[in-house]
């Protein structure tokens, strides 16, 4: 499904050049649940952003189902994200001025050619994460766990091929973190491909593969038996 070939990402400011990713080569198959681990600043989020096409590699190739995404213009990438990807962030990133229902709806808004009732899809997504009773509330009226569940609903409402989760439990307590992991495992079991950045070894252990990154380089990729 995903092939990264010799992908590097450099950041340049006036006088400093920082290598966030260095010569990453990686393949991820459909249906995998991959956990990316590593210390702060090692390039985990950059890798995830690159996989999510909101950051472009400085060099290397990114193939998604055989298509070289590095060649696509900005509008092509936007279309790709709308059709194939779902995002979950550590800080939820719900839009403050929209209700939970409307936030989840955003996951469908930019997706072209989708068939079926939008309302049904949103309600199904809310049911799946147990947030339906909060549909009319605004994000600030919800607890952190509820907000993250709403963010997961937004990520899955369009039935994406790939879910990218950047420390989805990072801002949650143990109980809410466990609930989020249950949902992600359930989604994976139902066929979703998930790539998750995490600091938590116990949460990483719940993935089917674990990748370790250090100083922008891939140091280990280990399949895990659950």
């Amino acid at each position: 499904m995903i092939e990264l070939k010799h992908v590097s990402r450099l950041y340049r400011s006036d006088e400093i050049e920082t290598t966030a990713l260095h010569d990453i080569t990686l393949t991820i198959r459909r249906g995998e649940f991959v956990a990316i681990m590593g210390p702060s600043g090692c390039g985990k989020s950059t890798l995830l952003n690159t996989l999510g096409t909101i950051d472009r590699p400085t060099s290397g190739q990114y193939l998604f189902d055989g298509t070289d995404l590095a060649q696509l213009p900005e509008t092509g990438l936007a279309k790709h994200r709308a059709k194939h990807l779902g995002f979950i962030f550590q800080s939820f990133n719900l839009v403050d001025d929209l209700t939970i229902y409307e936030n989840i709806e955003l996951g469908l808004l930019y997706r072209e050619g989708r068939k079926g009732s939008r309302r049904q899809a949103i309600e199904a997504a809310m049911d799946r994460v147990g947030i339906a009773h909060r549909a009319r509330h605004f994000p600030h009226q919800l607890s952190g766990g509820q907000q993250q569940r709403a963010a997961i609903a937004r990520a899955i409402v369009g039935e994406p091929d790939l879910i990218l989760a950047d420390e989805p439990t990072g801002n949650l307590d143990t109980e809410n973190g466990a609930q989020v992991m249950d949902i992600l495992r359930g989604l994976n079991a139902a066929g979703a491909t998930i790539i998750m950045v995490t600091h938590s070894p116990s949460h990483a252990d719940q993935a089917t593969r674990r990748i370790d990154i250090l100083d922008g380089q891939l140091v280990a990729s280990v399949a895990q038996v659950l």
Partner: protein
């Protein structure tokens, strides 16, 4: 997509009411000023729009080039010009309107009205809208009269007045006419009064001695040209035509075209033919555009400032697949909804304030959505187009955020250094405009106050002018009896008679005056404006005698000629009094030097016996005229009676004078006005426009404050954590307040620096139109800058104080 736009628009009000309110208020006020002043501009430039023939009609404008006299183009012509032009150019289609006074008799009562003596084709020429009657036949008979709806109601109690009779007295005597048509009341923006309209007969024309006297002005002549090129072609032939027609009327060596010019003025331009008046209206229109511009600057400022707060939303949307184009469309859609709402509020504000605007501005504006729906829609289109152009920058700025960067940062972006600079530049622009507006406001009001209080060379208080003595129906003995009776009234101090009238130029003439030995030439000799005055004229006005003596009935030589023949008698020299400016024009060394001098005036011998101070009788923008006064113990050439009184109110004095009038001349209506009111017609438009400008400028200042407050609120909220940190490090509340205020005073100070030279230039330009202009005081600038600073201080001071008072611990936790 559109639902998303509506939701964002709606939520901006429910979730960020302060921002939304500031944004909407600023826009609404700006749009309201724009609509109101557009309405005024449309009113002033829409004169005679009632006529379907407006765009093909031209009026004759005259222009004289007499030395020392104004050479502005004016609407009006010699009575017989149409006949002479038609003889030379038979294909011409024209008509004319000669307005006269008329007395309407209704039972024993008499009323003074204005009547239009017109050519038979007048009503059909302009396609005058009638309630009853036919434009083609209404003026066929000299015994017919067309009346307006208003006058039909007044005199017949109904507009269904065709066939009814009415008795009128005018130059042709007292006669009964049959009403042949009732004219629809014309809108307020017309200079073509049509209360009473009747046929200008050939006999009436032949009785008018000056009908073919080149240089005289009696009436208004109109022509129709289907193609403007035809008008331009005729215009080119006017100088040659004038030379042929005038002959040597202005002197042996002077061709007519050196003395006067004729212009074909499009009817649409006739109302604002005076460039000063046109400039005043255009300036007010520009104030409207500036107010809208300021409001849009506010919008850009607040929208880009708030863009940072929406950065995360943009990043999320982009992450979810939104394309920049779709986001721009959404933000432009939100802008369009805001503009639409602001337009509706602005329109409502105009509706609500129109009565006040009309009262303050001396106007009669109204918004008629039925007949002017297209115009209102046009205004909406202009506002939307301008607004959307303004909204492009924030929309692009918003859609340009990079999601990875925004989502990785804990702080909201502020648009970078460029964004901050842009916002500062816009605030500078706004405040520059505000300070300029303040300076102009001060300059305008000071000049108008100066005009109203200025020494005009005579005392205008306690002075009533009785116009009824101008009626031709009044006999000399009636006039003398009235003057004697008025003089006998207990509170009357003096009474005189004359046709040099404050605020009324209708009875004055211009002629050359030549010193012995100088060439008598219309193009080289000084021209003076002359009037006939009766006994006590200068004493009553309080005119200062500069040299010599005033007229005195005891001096036989003071009495002017009664007939042309008498004036040209061999050896006859008539005593005259001249004004100080005439002394200068005639090149005498001093007023004293002019006394006793003989001169040739209008081909007659005159002796200067007195010099009086110049008096300002007309528009404050008009130059004072060089005057020559002739004396007549019993003037009979349309003289007005001047009554100086004391110890009574104006209405009481007027009532007493009316009572006397009714006793002496019951068949002629009593008409009077105060000198102050007569002059006020010149000052009022200036005052009204200054008021309108002040309102516009005041609202512009308010918009500027709203913008500044919005920016202050935004910037302060972004700096709360910094404020906490500074306080942790030991900064006092006063220091923090100083820091925050200083940040906002900077653009205001820069704006003041920019505004001073611009305001000075604008004010100097405006003042240059006045003959008696004030000096530009540095205090205008000091007051405007201090005012601007105080407003800025008041606007941001409260916010700064609140922000500086937040506990440091709380401030550091601020997001």
């Amino acid at each position: 997509m559109w639902r998303s736009t509506f939701t964002a628009f709606y939520r901006s009000f429910t979730r960020h009411p302060l921002y939304a309110l500031l944004n909407l208020l600023g826009l609404s006020f700006g749009i309201a000023v724009f609509i109101a002043l557009s309405l005024l501009y449309r009113f002033e430039t829409g004169y005679e729009s009632w006529s379907s023939e407006r765009d093909t009609t031209y009026t004759i404008g005259g222009q004289y080039f007499f030395p020392g006299m104004p050479n502005d183009i004016f609407v009006g012509s010699m009575g017989g010009l149409l006949d002479e032009l038609k003889t030379a150019y038979p294909h011409l289609e024209g008509t004319r309107d000669w307005n006269n006074s008329v007395t309407v008799h209704k039972g024993a009562e008499v009323y003074g009205e204005q009547i239009e003596l017109v050519d038979g084709n007048y009503l059909s020429f302009f396609n005058v809208p009638l309630r009853h009657g036919d434009t083609k036949t209404a003026l066929a008979s000299p015994d017919s009269v067309a009346v307006s709806e208003e006058k039909a109601r007044k005199y017949f109690g109904t507009i269904d007045a065709v066939g009814r009779t009415i008795t009128l007295s005018d130059e042709e005597g007292r006669k009964t006419y049959v009403v042949s048509a009732v004219i629809r009341d014309l809108p307020k923006n017309t200079d073509m009064k049509m209360d009473f309209v009747r046929l200008l007969t050939k006999q009436r024309m032949s009785e008018e001695s000056a009908w073919h006297k080149w240089g005289s002005v009696q009436l208004v002549t109109y022509f129709r040209f289907a193609d403007p090129a035809q008008a331009a072609a005729l215009q080119k032939q006017f100088p040659g035509f004038i030379d042929r027609q005038v002959g040597d009327r202005f002197g042996d060596d002077v061709t007519g075209s050196k003395i006067m010019a004729l212009h074909l003025v499009p009817l649409a331009d006739a109302h604002l033919i005076d460039p000063k008046q046109k400039a005043a209206i255009v300036s007010l229109g520009l104030v409207g555009v500036v107010a809208l511009g300021l409001a849009l600057i506010n919008y850009i400022n607040l929208a880009t400032a708030r863009a940072g707060l929406r950065a995360r939303e943009v990043a999320v949307r982009k992450t979810l697949g939104a394309r920049p184009g779709a986001l721009r469309l959404q933000f432009l859609g939100e802008a369009a909804l805001t503009l639409l709402l602001a337009f509706l509020i602005g329109l409502s504000l105009v509706e609500l304030s129109l009565p006040a605007i009309n009262a303050v501005g001396g106007l009669s504006l109204k918004l008629d959505y039925v007949s002017e729906g297209a115009w209102v829609a046009g205004l909406l289109a202009v506002v939307m187009a301008a607004g959307l152009v303004a909204a492009i920058y924030p929309a692009f700025a918003l859609s340009a955020f990079k999601p990875a960067q925004v989502l990785a940062s804990s702080r909201t972006p502020a648009g970078g250094r460029a964004g901050v600079r842009l916002r500062e530049a816009l605030v500078v622009m706004q405040f520059t405009t505000v300070v300029i507006a303040f300076v102009l406001m001060l300059g305008f009001t000071t000049q108008i106050d100066h005009m109203q209080k200025a020494d005009l060379g005579f005392s205008r208080e306690g002075l009533l002018l009785v116009n009824s003595t101008r009626y031709t129906a009044i006999t000399d003995s009636q006039r003398d009896s009235y003057i004697s009776a008025a003089r006998a009234l207990p509170h009357v101090k003096r009474v005189t008679i004359g046709n040099a009238i404050p605020g009324d130029q209708s009875s004055t003439s211009n002629s050359n005056i030549v010193r012995p030995g100088q060439t008598d030439s219309a193009t080289a000799s000084p021209t003076v404006n002359w009037s006939v005055v009766g006994p006590d004229y200068f004493q009553l006005l309080g005119t200062k005698l500069v040299a010599g003596r005033l007229f005195d009935v005891r001096y036989g030589g003071d009495q002017m000629w009664r007939t042309d023949e008498e004036s040209r008698e061999e050896g006859r020299v008539t005593n005259v009094v001249i004004s100080r400016l005439t002394v200068k024009r005639m090149d005498y060394a001093s007023p004293q030097a002019a006394i006793g001098q003989i001169a040739r005036f209008a081909n007659r011998q005159v002796r200067i016996v007195g010099v009086v101070e110049d008096m300002r009788f007309y528009h404050p923008t008009d130059e004072i005229q060089a005057k020559l006064y002739l004396f007549d113990a019993h003037p009979n050439n349309n003289p007005v009676t001047f009554v100086r009184y004391q110890g009574l109110s104006e209405p009481q004095m007027r009532a007493q004078l009316q009572q006397v009038w009714r006793r002496i001349a019951p068949d002629v209506p009593f008409e009077s006005t105060s000198a102050s009111a007569n002059l006020d017609k010149y000052y009022k438009p200036e005052r009204d426009r200054s008021n309108l400008f002040s309102i516009g400028a005041g609202i512009a200042a308010l918009i500027g404050c709203i913008g500044l407050y919005g920016m202050a609120a935004f910037n302060t909220s972004r700096r709360v954590r910094e404020i906490g940190l500074r306080k942790v490090l030991g900064a006092s509340r006063g220091k923090v307040v100083g820091l925050l205020i200083g940040q906002f005073l900077r653009p205001v100070v820069v704006a003041s620096g920019l505004a001073v030279p611009l305001a000075w230039l604008a004010l100097r330009h405006w003042l240059s139109q006045f003959d008696d202009a004030i000096a530009i005081s540095p205090w205008f600038f000091v007051a405007a800058i201090v005012g601007g600073l105080l407003i800025a201080l008041g606007t941001v001071g409260g916010l700064a104080l609140i922000s500086a008072s937040i506990e440091p611990g709380k401030a550091l936790r601020h997001e």
